[in-house]
């Protein structure tokens, strides 16, 4: 089977950055920053970026390229080549396929809402919703699939089908002609739209002259004025580490898969840095200048705290359309807002699909089209419980296992494997093979000691604080428990199925062969 490759270096960087830039950049970051010390939050944020995010980014790029040299594009194969003496390590790599498939199965539905709302914004379908309650009723009506006065029955399902089809079509064209081309157009377009929206928000001034205290400058102050006392709170440091961890798309196994399509001597150090910096620019400079300043200008000090406390769905689908609707040309800006998020969603969801497709291509010798079709059939079925039992906690359960658990555990395994099993000397040499920059030597120490320690701290804190509650379904309504338990059993079944697939593949394959020498 021929090995796919990226068409250009910028293409793979934009694909990785596109995977990282998502809803969290524009909706999660501003709320987390404002609630955790404002400007002072940036101190633990930057420390986490340099000690946790950037090392993890380099690790995934490096081990992905290393595994790709052995013909593996997914975590089971890559882990196996990194620790050939251990028969079991490949099974831990299953998380690098399972997690992205689970996340894809609900993420794509949320992504389809963004497409639907882009159209609704453009045609003024929610224009008569003038408060949070009416916007919530609009969203609930849309999610329920029942017809309302705003749209006919099944509208949400129609947008889901369209979004799903767009993703599968892009994926079926492969790495260079599908994913790379999509991200090469999508990410610059996303950044241009974000800049247009930022300029519009920053030039709002004081929208209501009768309330001069409600202005954009004060909104920026709400986000950036440092509250020094926050730095003494451990939860602020943990929030910063969590934000960095989630925003960079590390720990999914996605970057690892993307990097496996590089050649042996393609740079990974500078490329990883560029992808991370692009994501940070989208998050801090653009994301930080949109929601909070705009919300403050319209809702003032009294309303801003409750807005900053909102979850990302409420902020994105309820509050922002209300704010943008109050501006001149609100329909256009509403459309740009949702279309911006839709593009961010597409570039992320196609990356989530790639590990599973690559696994089928590499290990079962399926063609790209066959793998994409099989992936489409399986994930289409997995999407149905999310769509039809959305209000019963199915999405939250999948999010917990796919994102919270898999991400942290997988990243912890990766970093220990890289720094300790693979060995820091060998890892350092591998990281710098073909490199265009020299990474400061202090990162040898950081990768071996600091990054694993930070990850283990995050893991321990989350287990202590959240996991018990989630595992025992504390606080879950009695009526929703069967749905959540069935989802849990289904996810366990999927995980076991993937373990068996790995076992079958390895039983029938010869021992690992020498790396490719295509340079």
């Amino acid at each position: 089977m021929s090995k796919q490759r990226w068409g250009s270096r910028l293409g793979v960087i934009l694909a990785v950055a596109g995977s990282a830039v998502g809803l969290g950049n524009f909706l999660r970051f501003p709320g987390v920053a404002a609630n955790n010390g404002g400007g002072a939050f940036m101190i633990p944020y930057f420390i986490s970026f340099f000690l946790l995010g950037l090392p993890l980014m380099w690790i995934e790029w490096t081990i992905g390229r290393f595994g790709g040299g052995f013909g593996h594009s997914t975590a089971p194969g890559v882990f196996d080549t990194m620790w050939q003496k251990n028969r079991f390590v490949k099974y831990f790599g299953v998380m690098g396929i399972f997690g992205p498939v689970v996340i894809f199965s609900y993420y794509i539905y949320v992504e389809s809402w963004l497409l639907g709302y882009s159209v609704f914004a453009l045609i003024g379908r929610y224009a008569d919703c003038t408060d949070l309650e009416s916007m919530r009723a609009f969203l609930t009506g849309y999610q329920s699939l029942a017809g309302t006065e705003h749209f006919p029955a099944g509208t949400a399902y129609l947008f889901f089908i369209i979004t799903f089809a767009i993703n599968i079509i892009v994926l079926s064209f492969g790495i260079s002609r599908g994913i790379e081309r999509c991200c090469k157009w999508g990410l610059p377009l996303l950044l241009v739209i974000a800049i247009i929206l930022v300029i519009r928000v920053l030039t709002l001034g004081t929208p209501d002259p009768a309330r001069p205290e409600n202005n954009v400058l004060k909104g920026l102050g709400f986000l950036w004025n440092p509250q020094w006392a926050a730095l003494k709170k451990p939860e602020v440091w943990l929030a910063a580490a969590g934000q960095i961890f989630f925003t960079l798309s590390v720990g999914f196994g996605v970057i690892l898969t993307y990097a496996s399509y590089l050649r042996r001597n393609d740079d990974v150090a500078l490329s990883g840095l560029t992808a991370a910096a692009t994501n940070e620019m989208a998050e801090v400079v653009l994301g930080g200048s949109l929601v909070i300043p705009a919300a403050f200008a319209f809702f003032g000090a009294a309303g801003i705290q409750s807005i900053a406390d909102q979850n990302i769905f409420d902020l994105g689908f309820l509050t922002m359309p209300l704010i943008l609707g109050q501006m001149a040309y609100g329909q256009i800006f509403g459309f740009l807002w949702f279309f911006l998020l839709f593009i961010a969603g597409v570039t992320s969801s196609i990356s989530l699909a790639q590990p599973a497709i690559a696994f089928m291509e590499d290990e079962f010798n399926l063609t790209r089209r066959e793998a994409a079709v099989l992936f489409a059939v399986v994930t289409f079925l997995l999407c149905q419980p999310v769509i039809f039992f959305l209000g019963n906690g199915v999405l939250g359960e999948m999010d917990f296992w796919g994102t919270t658990v898999c991400l942290v555990v997988f990243a912890t395994i990766e970093v220990i494997l890289f720094g300790w099993v693979f060995g820091i000397d060998r890892a350092w040499t591998e990281l710098h093979a073909g490199s265009d920059i020299r990474i400061p030597r202090i990162y040898r120490f950081i990768i071996k000691y600091i990054t694993p320690l930070m990850l283990l701290t995050i893991l321990a804190t989350w287990i202590f604080n959240d996991w018990k509650k989630q595992l025992l379904l504390e606080g879950v309504e009695e009526a929703n428990r069967p749905y959540i338990l069935i989802t849990r059993v289904g996810l366990l079944g999927l995980f076991v199925f993937l373990l068996l697939m790995v076992r079958i593949v390895w039983r029938r394959r010869p021992e690992a062969t020498c790396p490719e020498t295509d340079q």
Binding site: S2, K3, Q4, R5, W6, G7, S8, R9, L10, I13, G38, G39, A40, M42, F46, G174, S176, L217, K218, L220, G221, L223, W224, N225, P226, R263, D266, D267, L270, S271, L273, T274, A277, T278, E280, M281, V284, V285, G288, D436, I437, E516, D518
Partner: protein, 50 residues
Amino acid sequence: MRLDGILFMLLSWAVILGLFGYSMFRTLSPKHRTELDKQTTQPPQNGETP
């Protein structure tokens, strides 16, 4: 917005935009682009699809 807020915002932006500008410049600089073009425009090897 307080002065320290403005300073924090501008400092954060400067760090990130500096990092972004530096890494993009290095990535797109003609020297590296030429090296890459050599790699990526060569005909497929060993049955590779481009």
